[in-house]
Symmetry: C2
Subunit: 324 residues, 2 copies
């Protein structure tokens, strides 16, 4: 009886693969550059070669239940990529299940990259003990994954979780999606950088802080990491920026709480390296934006499944969907 699954984590920069058993123990972790610019068929080809590699490491496919792929954007149930993966040119429209099935004789499933990360948090990480959770990935953009009654919720055609586009300010910052004021334009890595540059250069610089001086001299040197390094060193501009962006994030979290009343919100992604300050600030503002009875029964915690959450969640999807 198969006891393991192959997980594939497809990112704009790197591709990861591994073999995992049901309890989350993994082996044969491999990583390669995605080389997204080579186009969809080349990316699929790299995925096929990675599956070949981990199967060789494993010594065959006898114990493998199936292949799970975490991908940016939306993948339909039949393996058609429906779009939403801006950093993977030529990925949209591809049929990604059939070639893997026919070459390796393995069943394939897929989910949005943040959706599978949320599953990893539910199976092995910060949402292990609860039934209902929403994981927000604060990275270059913002995505969400929803777990309902212990099972991942993909939405119709795998499209659920675009909570980066909850509007938190009417006529606010212009978003790449066409809307204005999406939370992604404030609390993602890109959003933080843009907010920080504006704030540092538009304040009357009578007494600029260290961060503000850096921004005034070289605006393009500002990164989210730099902002949070300065916030942790009590730079007043950096602290104000943190407060502002966490306030916006809290409005979106309030909407999620009122809508879904999960047991737990998990905050992950690159931004969360400064998680103590972010969690504290979000805990300050969120109760203003949701029902008290819901707030009292939900907590907001940092992600715990680690840097391999994507590849492990992709493998976990195989157990969730193909077992018994």
């Amino acid at each position: 009886m198969p006891t393991s699954a192959i997980g594939i984590d497809l990112g704009g920069t790197n591709l990861k693969a591994c073999i995992m058993n049901k309890t989350g123990e993994f082996r044969h972790l491999r990583r390669r550059p995605t080389q997204a610019q080579k186009g969809g068929p080349a990316v699929l080809d790299t995925i096929m070669r990675m599956i070949e590699t981990v199967l060789a490491d494993e010594g065959g496919s006898g114990g493998i239940l199936g292949v799970g792929i975490g991908s940016p954007g939306f993948v339909d149930e039949d393996g058609t990529v429906l779009g939403g993966a801006q950093n993977l040119p030529g990925w949209e429209g591809m049929q990604i299940f059939e070639p893997i099935k026919s070459k390796f004789g393995l069943n394939v499933t897929a989910g949005n990259d943040v959706t599978v990360t949320a599953l990893a948090e539910s199976c092995f990480g910060a949402a292990k003990e609860v039934k209902n959770s929403v994981t927000l990935a604060l990275g270059t953009g913002i995505g969400a994954g929803i777990v309902v009654n212990g099972k991942v919720y993909k939405g119709t055609h795998g499209m659920a979780g675009e909570m980066g586009h909850v509007i938190v300010e009417t006529n606010g910052r212009q978003c790449t999606c066409g809307l204005k004021g999406c939370v992604e334009q404030y609390a993602s890595g890109t959003g933080i950088v843009n907010v920080a540059r504006e704030m540092c250069t538009s304040f009357t610089p009578q007494k600029p802080s260290t961060l503000a001086r850096i921004a005034l001299e070289n605006p393009s040197g500002i990164t989210a990491k730099l902002v949070y390094e300065h916030a942790e060193a009590d730079d007043p501009y950096a602290l104000y920026i943190n407060d502002y962006i966490c306030h916006k994030l809290s409005i979106a979290i309030g909407t999620i709480l009122n809508s879904l009343a999960p047991d737990r919100i998990i905050l992950g992604g690159g931004i969360m390296k400064s998680h103590e300050l972010i969690i504290a600030t979000v805990n300050k503002y969120t109760p203003r934006y949701c029902w008290n009875s819901i707030w009292e029964r939900c907590d907001i915690v940092p992600a715990k499944a680690g840097e391999n959450a994507g590849v492990l969640g992709a493998a976990a999807l195989v157990f969730e969907e193909m077992e018994g």
Copy 2:
């Protein structure tokens, strides 16, 4: 083997009870005034007497699987009312399962009134053919019920679905929940009346329409029904009001679509008597507020389960939770 369930629909004004089989056929439909002002214990007593009555109609409890109650606000899994039912003084804090269990020997479950309505739409109404749906009840306030993979999603402690409090305008109209700009302040019955009064009396009344003249003479005569009667007669003020409130509603629906990517949004409640105009206007604005790939795969339709949706959904909850 039990083949029927008792449904109870608890409203601020009326209480309904019936016995239903799994396919939605019902009998012994009873209705009584809730007499909410008499307090929680008196309301529970009325529910007990209605169960007694429908059991007498039925000739015994032999074929009954259990009792399902649809209630305003939040009811915890163990039958404790957690709050959220402003129109039922003294209902919060009650334990409503134990007295029914011990008197009739029947298992009891409960759900928010809109949640069970959403289940009725999923089992017997407008969401029958789809897996994932969100039902919005546009009544005095706005509530939502979520169905995920064909099953009702109650959220932790039964608190999901407060989508009437999605913020659609930053620093907008003051809501009773403490927030500003909640969609409920625009697109509920109360919201429509308030918006209509303001618009009709604040426009320069050089050429007031029929509706505007009524509002100028007697602002308290304005009702949502009156607004929509005039909109259907092409009154320009009424049409503008419809456009304005449906635009706000569309922002909230866009958030729901991006977050949950359901197959279908169902609009119900008293306001939806003018459903053709509302559906058409919402279909005009919603695509501006969500991802195109999600919009293309979702439709927005009027409710179909009818005036007994609440009591039938409450009974359907018994089959969903207690069967097999």
